[in-house]
Symmetry: C2
Subunit: 379 residues, 2 copies
């Protein structure tokens, strides 16, 4: 089954690049002596998880209960569900815990803590809870210096349905770090927040075994992990144009791309069309912000085997099932005849991968699809 026989649009995964990415991250944290807990929110595939876990301790991070259930069914039994827990999800969590899966959840709320403790008691479980910290993203989380941190820590320790497992933060603001120095400063602040919160909790006599940080940019560029017990990251497995633009990896490390067919030429408009539009590529637009290499529109266009770029061609516009290719200067029609195929590197791979139910796996630039790996979506 060759790449040429795969219908378009399809999501192609380069296994050789994936192995490089997962191997590099695993080796980095092995050398640093910090546990690494891969985040499966991007890949949502047990086949990818197995590679990401090779050489690590075996725990994963997930963003939905559906991921938790799917990975548990495939034998993973240490899972951090790193999105604010809400009481309605407890029955499904209780079923997982009842099957022997160690699941940790996160919260930043005294109110939620009380409710989940009540529900946990009703369900006959005790929930391991990490306190979510805001280390600069300004989304969810308590500030590490706050009084609320100690109140919530004490409460989670005392409530009958919860156990204080530790603290967790995600420096999502590192995506807008702007420069290597900027990202390193954010990484240091992420570390400082988590370590400070843990120190403060411990000073009151509470146990705080887990001190968890992570985002792909801070995991790649952080220099000091003192006081941290585990790091989480997910996008690094696949990489994407956004992560390339902020220096998380090279262009050749982008693992997942959309295989598309050139369906028409419009010489009078200096464009060509492909059969991958907003549903096949998703809709994150590259901004070409100051300091970033370039604006690639809705994706960067490579040749069929993804070994080199086609001029400076990008997906300039998307419609539901059409992508419109644009170029700097005259469009290279002769390089992209109607019926030929391209590989589009995604801007934001978490969103692009979510549009597909499977990966078509190739090895390196080999023009051969080796196998199909299923992935999950939804909640």
């Amino acid at each position: 089954m060759g790449l040429k026989t795969i219908e378009t649009p399809s999501l192609v995964l380069n296994r050789a690049a994936l192995l490089r990415n997962t191997g590099r991250m695993t080796e980095r944290f092995r050398q640093l002596g910090v546990a690494f807990r891969p985040h499966m929110k991007t890949a949502k595939s047990i086949d990818v998880a197995r590679l990401a876990l090779a050489g690590n301790f075996g725990g994963i991070t997930v963003s939905t209960l559906k991921e938790a259930e799917y990975f548990a069914e495939h034998g993973i039994n240490d899972i951090t569900y790193a999105v604010s827990i809400v009481p309605q999800r407890l029955p499904r969590l209780a079923r997982l815990i009842g099957r022997g899966v160690a699941v940790s959840v996160i919260t930043d709320s005294v109110e939620i803590a009380r409710e989940i403790s009540n529900r946990a008691v009703e369900l006959g479980i005790v929930l391991d809870v990490l306190i979510e910290l805001d280390s600069g993203e300004k989304r969810a989380g308590l500030l590490p210096e706050s009084e609320e941190l100690l109140v919530l820590g004490r409460l989670l320790d005392e409530l009958p349905g919860t156990r204080l497992k530790g603290v967790l933060t995600h420096a999502g603001n590192s995506y807008q770090g702007g420069s290597l120095d900027g990202i390193q400063a954010i990484a240091e602040h992420e570390r400082w927040c988590a370590a400070t919160a843990a120190t403060r909790l411990r000073a009151t006599g509470l146990a705080c075994p887990v001190v968890s940080v992570g985002s792909t940019p801070t995991a790649v560029h952080g220099r000091d992990f003192t006081g941290i017990t585990e790091v989480r990251a997910g996008v690094y497995m696949f990489g994407d144009v956004f992560q390339w633009e902020i220096g998380s990896h090279g262009l050749e490390d982008i693992t997942v791309s959309v295989l598309a067919t050139v369906t028409a030429h419009r010489p009078e408009l200096n464009t060509a069309l492909i059969d991958a539009g907003s549903l096949a590529l998703s809709k994150d637009r590259s901004t070409g912000a100051p300091g970033l290499p370039e604006d690639v529109g809705f994706g960067l266009v490579m040749n069929e085997t993804a070994t080199h770029r086609i001029g400076r061609v990008r997906v300039g516009r998307v419609y539901q099932e059409h992508g419109m290719l644009e170029a700097d200067g005259p469009f290279p029609f002769e390089q992209l005849p109607v019926g030929s195929r391209v590989r589009v590197l995604p801007n934001h791979v978490c969103m692009t991968a979510a549009m597909y139910e499977e990966y078509q796996v190739v090895d390196g630039a080999a023009d051969e699809a080796m196998e199909t790996w299923p992935r999950i979506n939804g909640w």
Copy 2:
């Protein structure tokens, strides 16, 4: 099974609003005496198709082969596949045609016409082909005054594997029509292009039985359909914030919304979080362009039964599994306690619905989920 027992995020469909929308469009074209062929690219559900087809002739439009196969399996046997045909898709099309489904395809290319004819002959079928016209969207299609139109028409008539079925255009530029007058001018140009192309083809002795136009704004606002044999539209079934902003329908006609739970308050940031982020809502951002009512960010926030807006609250930011609510002025925390639920009206329903595998169906504002309707995704 009440709405309250449904987990979040979920895609809720208001059947009463859907019936109003489909009934109104059907009645409009019944009165105009023009055939109406609903486009199923938005709903991708046989249950929705049955309502859209009630009172119409029974043919549908689709945007993917997967839709064509799905709807054919459910008994629909007149299908226009309204995205540029590429030769690789012919084996699947041939299987459909072999099962007795009348499928029409579209092209604007002499090169593609020759290739699909060759493949069709190999497969033992004759393909019905509509010539795609560009009526101002500047995407795919030939210009109605072009010489290429007559060349392609003659070719499709003569090639052994194709039959000239007619012409088709989609005034996608009507989404940026800007005003009622602007949309009506675009509708008239869409009509003129299709009618002119048909007249020119017929003047050379070719049959051109189908003259097909359509987009939700031009279908709703067009005043004259002289020379047109059928109209296509799809988004009208569900409506969305973008269509509301350009006047295609009222806010109460938006049929599909995302049920989400308030997971946290951040009073110091004047925001609250919900458990519907970029995967649950999709990522089309309202622009609040000049002349449009307002910028609603990534979606407009209603109460749990979707009967009224919550102040002027919008989803201001999205992360993979978090939505951040923003308000004009102080955030109405007391109206949205942690654990309460909201319904988010989508900006662009085609993208939002694509993130789900099913609709949770309610009737009007009734706090009860009646049934679950599956939908398909992918290619």
